[in-house]
């Protein structure tokens, strides 16, 4: 089946790229919020919160993305019948909690990198816990967190390829389907790889540019 040439497959691959971008954007945002919450909980003064956050972060960071996705897709509905997710939702939930665990460590590291004197100065000024973080610690920590967060965003783009395994048709799965039709996996996956590169490389450049600017 080679009549229309490869050009006919370009549109579905671009559509797949679009869905990959959408997945990464949504799970990147949700993961960042989860990461901020769990990263702050990990070092907050309330012990039980710290424990919960530590379990979430350490356990999830010890899991392959694939196991997280398979667990949510196949096992979670048995635990909570209400949590029967379709493929797209599974993909977003799985990638989000994966991103959350890694982002939490990035935020924790950035917060801990802020000199203790900043916190003490804020307390000496009579700031409460919330104000101290909102106006003193977090604005500085965010700047430190940007380069590793950009690094993780690239990992997230690549990890998003794994949702193809539960059958969600993003870029990799689109390539898989097409290679089954045209029987030309080499060409097809080379194009898929190029499309990933086009998505991911500008993010790498952005990260490098930001780091140079900070230095």
């Amino acid at each position: 089946m080679n009549d229309g040439g490869f050009a006919q497959f370009l549109a579905p691959l671009l559509r797949g790229t679009e869905l990959t971008l959408m997945l990464v954007a949504v799970s990147g945002v949700v993961g960042t919020i989860l990461g901020l919450v769990f990263g702050m909980a990990r070092i907050c003064p309330v012990p039980p919160l710290r424990w919960v956050a530590a379990v979430y972060i350490n356990f999830l960071r010890g899991q392959p993305v694939l196991i997280i996705l398979l667990f949510i897709y196949f096992a979670l509905p048995l635990l909570f019948p209400a949590a029967t997710f379709n493929r797209g939702f599974t993909a977003i939930v799985g990638l989000s909690i994966y991103a959350g665990a890694y982002m939490a460590e990035i935020f924790r590291g950035s917060i801990e990198a802020i000199p203790k004197g900043q916190e003490e100065a804020a307390e000496a000024l009579g700031m409460g816990y919330f104000n101290k973080f909102r106006y003193v610690i977090l604005p500085q920590a965010m700047k430190i967190a940007v380069p590793p967060a950009i690094g993780f965003l690239i990992s997230l783009v690549k990890a998003s390829a794994l949702v193809s395994v539960i059958g969600f048709v993003e870029l990799t799965q689109a390539g898989h389907i097409i290679s089954n039709i045209n029987q030309e996996p080499l060409q097809t996956f080379l194009v898929v790889a190029v499309l990933y590169f086009i998505v991911s490389y500008p993010i790498s450049l952005l990260g490098r540019w930001y780091e140079r600017r900070l230095a």
Partner: protein, 217 residues
């Protein structure tokens, strides 16, 4: 709701064997990829334009495309031009090439962290560049980046699960098999999650041990 974790126990030997395959491909990929990574990082900072440019291109390509797509290209793509790797070798080749791109950057940072004075002292003592690298630069460089290398080893181990997609009978693949055999989905994947967790913790711990024993001076 009742769970039957006992139902999966008879499969534990099968799971442990599959886990061993995961660890095995990871260790081969990490070792071979680290050697390649050292060479690539040396090429990258060699000052020879063609060498450092091709090392840079290699690193960017492998760091900016998913491992899954790399494995598809090796397993399905190369088959199209007559190069047939079985799942095991596809995974080994894929993990090695992928790991090399990451370790190359880690080693480069490591080599840069060794003070120039050490290298100059060694060459003043009449050491050849090879001796200089082997006996003076390598050890402190590796020690300085040991945490990053460990992190990379754990990430590589977790991503070896991607081998399941090209039918490598490693842990994730075996979990899917046992899941379809027993229909004990939650129990099966819980065992898998615990096994992955334990091995990644063990890897982190042995790295800390190595830091205290192998790299003491």
């Amino acid at each position: 709701m009742t769970f039957y974790f006992g139902d999966i126990l008879p499969y534990l030997p099968v799971l442990l064997h599959a886990l061993w395959i995961s660890v095995y491909v990871t260790l081969i990929g990490f070792a071979a990829g680290s050697v390649a990574g050292v060479l690539i990082s040396l090429a990258r900072s060699s000052g020879v334009r063609a060498l450092s440019a091709s090392a840079g291109v290699y690193i960017e390509i492998f760091r900016n495309t998913p491992l899954l797509v790399q494995l598809y290209l090796i397993y399905f793509g190369l088959g199209q031009v007559g190069i047939n790797f079985n799942p095991f070798w596809s995974a080994v080749v894929g993990l090695t090439l992928n790991n090399a791109a990451y370790t190359a950057e880690i080693f480069r940072a490591g080599f840069e962290s060794v003070p120039a004075g050490l290298r100059e002292a060694a060459s003043a003592l009449g050491m050849t560049p090879v001796q200089n690298f082997r006996y003076v630069v390598l050890k402190p460089a590796v020690r300085n980046v040991l945490p990053s290398l460990t992190n990379q080893l754990i990430v590589l181990f977790l991503f070896s699960s991607v081998g399941s997609v090209i039918a490598l009978p490693e842990l994730t693949n075996e979990l899917s098999n046992i899941n379809s055999l027993t229909n004990r989905t939650l129990e099966t994947f819980t065992y898998g999650a615990v096994l992955y967790y334990l091995v990644s913790v063990a890897m982190a711990m042995s790295s800390r041990l190595a830091e205290k024993t192998l790299f003491r001076w």
